[in-house]
C-alpha cells in the first residue's frame, strides 16, 4: 500500500472545530483517487495532512510503510516527496515557466532535459521563457502540474484543480490532466467538490462529510450502492419516500428504514413495479429534461423526465431495483 491513514483526527481553534474525525483509508500505487465533499467537509485538511502542511492531533499517516505523521512525529513537507498542485496554482511570479518547473529539481545535470519533457507532457512546448502572468488559467494549471511532476513524486495531490475554470475549459483540461497523469503512472489524489469531476477521473472515490469518511469505493459502486443518502445525493437529486407516499404506491415499508429514489428513476408508465395515480402541478423545461411537479395525495415532489406528459392526470411508477434503502 502506498499510503495508509489510521484514525486520523485534526482540530482547529483549540479543539472547537473538528476538521477531521477518525478517518482511516488506504491508497494504492498507480491509481487515481478523488476526495469528494462539500466545503467544510475536511477534504482540504486531509490533503494538507497527507502533504505535511499540517500535523495531526491523533492518528498516523504511513507512506510506503514509513510513519510520516502522528501526534508525536512529523516529517516536514519538504522531506515527504509528495507533489501538491494548489488550487490557485501558486506559480512563482518572479520566475519563468522554465524556472518554475526546474525549481524543485536538485540534479543540475538533467534540468534542461526534464523541462523539455515536462513542457511536452503538458503540451506547452515553447512557453518556457514566459512568465506565469503571460499564460491563461488553463495553461498555468498545466505548468503547476508539470512543476509538481518534475520532482518525480510517488504521490501527487491536486487541490480543486478545476475550480477556477469555466465549464468548457474544465472538461477539456480534466481530460488532458487525466491523460497526463495516466502517462506518468503516478498515484494521484484529486480534491474536489464536483461529483462529475470525481467520476470522470478517479479509480476510487472517497467521500467526506463533517470530517468523517462516509465511503471509499469505485465510482460505479458508489453510484449504485451508496452507503448513506448524503453520498447518493452528491451525484443526483433524491426524493425521500415517506410512509404515506409509499402506501400510495402500495409498497410495504420496513420499520426504521429510510427509502429514497433518484428523481430520474420515476417514469410515467403503469407497467412499473410500483405505480400510483398522480396529478401534474407544473412542468419546467431545464434543457436536458423537464422538471415536473407531482402531487400524490398530500405529498408533492419534483421528478426529472425526458418528456413532458400531455395530460394532467397520469400514472407514475418506479422499479424496485432503483429503490435505495438505508
Amino acid at each position: 500500500m502506498l499510503l495508509k491513514i489510521d484514525h486520523l483526527s485534526k482540530h482547529f481553534d483549540g479543539g472547537k472545530v473538528k476538521a477531521l474525525n477518525d478517518v482511516s483509508l488506504q491508497l494504492a500505487s498507480g491509481k487515481s483517487y478523488a476526495i469528494l465533499g462539500e466545503s467544510g467537509s475536511g477534504k482540504t485538511t486531509l490533503a494538507r495532512l497527507i502533504a505535511g502542511l499540517e500535523s495531526p492531533d491523533q492518528g498516523e499517516i504511513y507512506l510506503n510503510d514509513v510513519l510520516i505523521g502522528s501526534e508525536s512525529h512529523h516529517v516536514p513537507v519538504e522531506k515527504r516527496a509528495i507533489g501538491f498542485v494548489f488550487q490557485h496554482y501558486a506559480l512563482f511570479p518572479h520566475l519563468t515557466i522554465r524556472e518554475n518547473i526546474t525549481y524543485g529539481i536538485s540534479n543540475l545535470g538533467n534540468k534542461k532535459q526534464v523541462v523539455e519533457e515536462m513542457l511536452e507532457l503538458v503540451n506547452l512546448e515553447g512557453y518556457g521563457a514566459r512568465y506565469p502572468h503571460e499564460l491563461s488559467g488553463g495553461q498555468q494549471q498545466r505548468v503547476a502540474l508539470a512543476r509538481a511532476l518534475a520532482t518525480k513524486p510517488g504521490l501527487i495531490i491536486l487541490d480543486e484543480p478545476f475550480s477556477n475554470l469555466d465549464s468548457t475549459l474544465r472538461v477539456d483540461l480534466r481530460t488532458d490532466i487525466f491523460g497526463i497523469l495516466q502517462k506518468t503512472g503516478v498515484c494521484s489524489v484529486f480534491i474536489t467538490h464536483n461529483s462529475e469531476d470525481a467520476m470522470a477521473i478517479a479509480d476510487e472515490i472517497i467521500v467526506l462529510s463533517d470530517g468523517r469518511l462516509l465511503q471509499q469505493a469505485k465510482p460505479e459502486i458508489m453510484y449504485s450502492s451508496p452507503t448513506t443518502p448524503y453520498v447518493a445525493r452528491l451525484f443526483d437529486p433524491l426524493i425521500k419516500l415517506t410512509s404515506s407516499l409509499l402506501e400510495q404506491f402500495r409498497y410495504q415499508p420496513k420499520p426504521d428504514a429510510r427509502y429514497f429514489l433518484r428523481t430520474h428513476h420515476f417514469s410515467f408508465d403503469a407497467t412499473m413495479d410500483f405505480h400510483a395515480k398522480a396529478s401534474i402541478r407544473s412542468s419546467t423545461f431545464m434543457g436536458k429534461h423537464y422538471q415536473i411537479e407531482i402531487a400524490i395525495g398530500n405529498d408533492t415532489f419534483y421528478v426529472a423526465s425526458p418528456q413532458k406528459p400531455s395530460e394532467t392526470q397520469v400514472e407514475i411508477g418506479w422499479m424496485e431495483k432503483d429503490l435505495m434503502v438505508f
Partner: protein, 547 residues
Amino acid sequence: MQRRLRQYANRNRRDFNGWSFTALAVTLFIGVPTIFIFVKLFSGPGESWKHIATYLLPGYLRNSLYLALTTSFLTICFGVGSAWLSTRYEFPMRKAFEWLLILPLAIPSYITAYAYAGIFDYGGSLALLLRQFSLTMGKLDIMNIHGLAFVLGISLYPYVYVACRAFFLHQSQHLIEASKALGKGETRSFFKLILPIARPAIVGGVILVLMEVLNDYGAAKYYGVNTFTTGIFKSWFGYREPETAVYLSALLLAIIFGLILLEQWQRKRKKFVTEGKGGTALKRIQIRKKYRLLFTAVVGLPVMLGFVFPVLQLVYWASLAIKGIQWDQLYGVVLQSLLIAALAATCCVFFSVVLLLAGHSNRLRWVQQFSKVGVLGYAIPGAIIAVGVYIPGLYVDKWLISVFKQFFSVKIGLLITGTVIALLYAYVVRFLAVAYNPIASGKQKVPNGLIEASKSLGKNTLSTFWNVELPLLKPALLGSFILVFIDVMKELPLTLILKPYTVQTLAIEAYQYASDERIAEAAFPSLLIVATGVLPVIFLNRLARKD
C-alpha cells in the same frame, strides 16, 4: 487530564524545531533591557528616591500629564482636520498636501524646538521681520511647558493625520449620503458621524503621539521642562544613581504598557465600527471659488508651522554660521552618523527577517505569541532602553574583563558599553518594530500557497525564503531599512546615554551646540538630519498609498 497533558507534551516535543529555538533566543536577546527594567521595579530605588518622590515626581507627573493632554488635543485638531479636509474637499494644492502634511515627521521635535526658540526669541527672526515693517513684538516667551506642548503638537500631528487619512479613504460615500438623507448637513455629518466612527484611527494615532511625547528628551531639556524622561537623565547623570533612574524607567514603562493595552483594547473595538466595504469611495466636493484659497491656507497651516517655518529658521542660522563650520570635523560626524545608521538598519532588518521566519516556521503557538515581545521596543522611550542596555552591559563587561584576566592574562577595556556594540544593540531593541512591521505586512502579501508550493517541491524554510520570499520582499526590505536608518539618524536620548566618547552623531552634535547656546552652529547638522528625513517620508507616504 493526564492524557491531555501527555498529548500536549507529545505535540510540543514534535513541533519544537530549530526555528522555535531561534524565535525564543532572538526574542530573549531583544527583550533583555525590557525584562531587566521590569524586574528592577521590584528591587527598589536608590537613596535619593525619597527626595525625588517628594519634591520632583509630582512635578514630573504633572508636566508629563499636561504635555500628554495638550499635545493630544493639538495633534487631533491638526491631524483630523487636515486629514478630513484633504480627503473630502477639492482645492488648490490638495494633492501636494497629501505628502506635505507628513513632512514635519522629518524634523526631530528637539530641532523644531530649537527653531521656534530662535523664531520667538527677543531679537529673533520674528522680531527682525516685524522691525522691517516698523513693528515691534511684545514679550512672547515660548520656552516653557505651553511652548513645548505647541512644538510637540505641530511636530507630531502627522501620526494622527496618517491614521485618519487612511481611515477616511476607506469610508463609503453611501455612509455620508445616508447621513445627509437623514437631514444632517456636511458639518453636522462630520461631527455626528465621521468623527465618532474615526475614533479607532484617532486613538491609534494619538497613542503613537503619546509614546513620542514620553520619549522626548531634547525639546523638554531645552525648554527647561521637567518630565519623566528628563528625570531619568537627572537621576543618572545628576544624582549619579542608576538604581533611581531604573526605578523611574520602570514606572514609566508601566505607564507605557498601560497605553499599549489601551491601544489593543481600542483596536479590538475597531472591529465593531462600520466600514464602507463594498460601497463607493468618498467623493470629493469642489469648493466654491471664493473659498478655495481659504481651504489651501487652513490645510497648509500645519505644514507651515511644523515644517516650513522651522526649516527657514534653520536655513537662516546655517547661513550665519556657514563661515565658521569646520568642514573636516562635520564630514567625520556625517560619516559616523551614516555608518552607524546603516549598521543599525541592517541589524534591524536582519533580526526582523530572522524573527519573522522563525515565527512563521515555528509550529508552536505559544512561541509565536511570545516572539511578539521582541517588537515592543518601539513603544519604550529611548532613555529607558538605554538604561536597560547599559547596566546589564556593564555586568557582562565586568565578567568579560575578569574572564580575560584570569584565563588569558589580558587586560581588556569595556567591550560592550565602551564601544558601539551597546549602542547598536539598543538601536535594534528600540527600532526592531520599525523594520519588522513593513516586512511582516509585505510577507502577508506573499501568498501562503507560494511558500507551501516551494516546500512541497523539496525546499526547506531558508531555501524557500531565499528563492521565493526574498525576491518578492525586496521593496519591503528596502523600505524597512530606510525607515530605521532615518529613525537612528534622528535618535537623541538613547544615543546620549550609550554613545562612546569617540563617537559623534549629527543628532548629538546639534544637541550639544544647542545646549551650549551656539544655536546657529546647531543648524547645519540639524538641516542634514532633516534632509535625510524628507526622502523617506515621501517613500513612507507612497508605501501607505499602495497599501
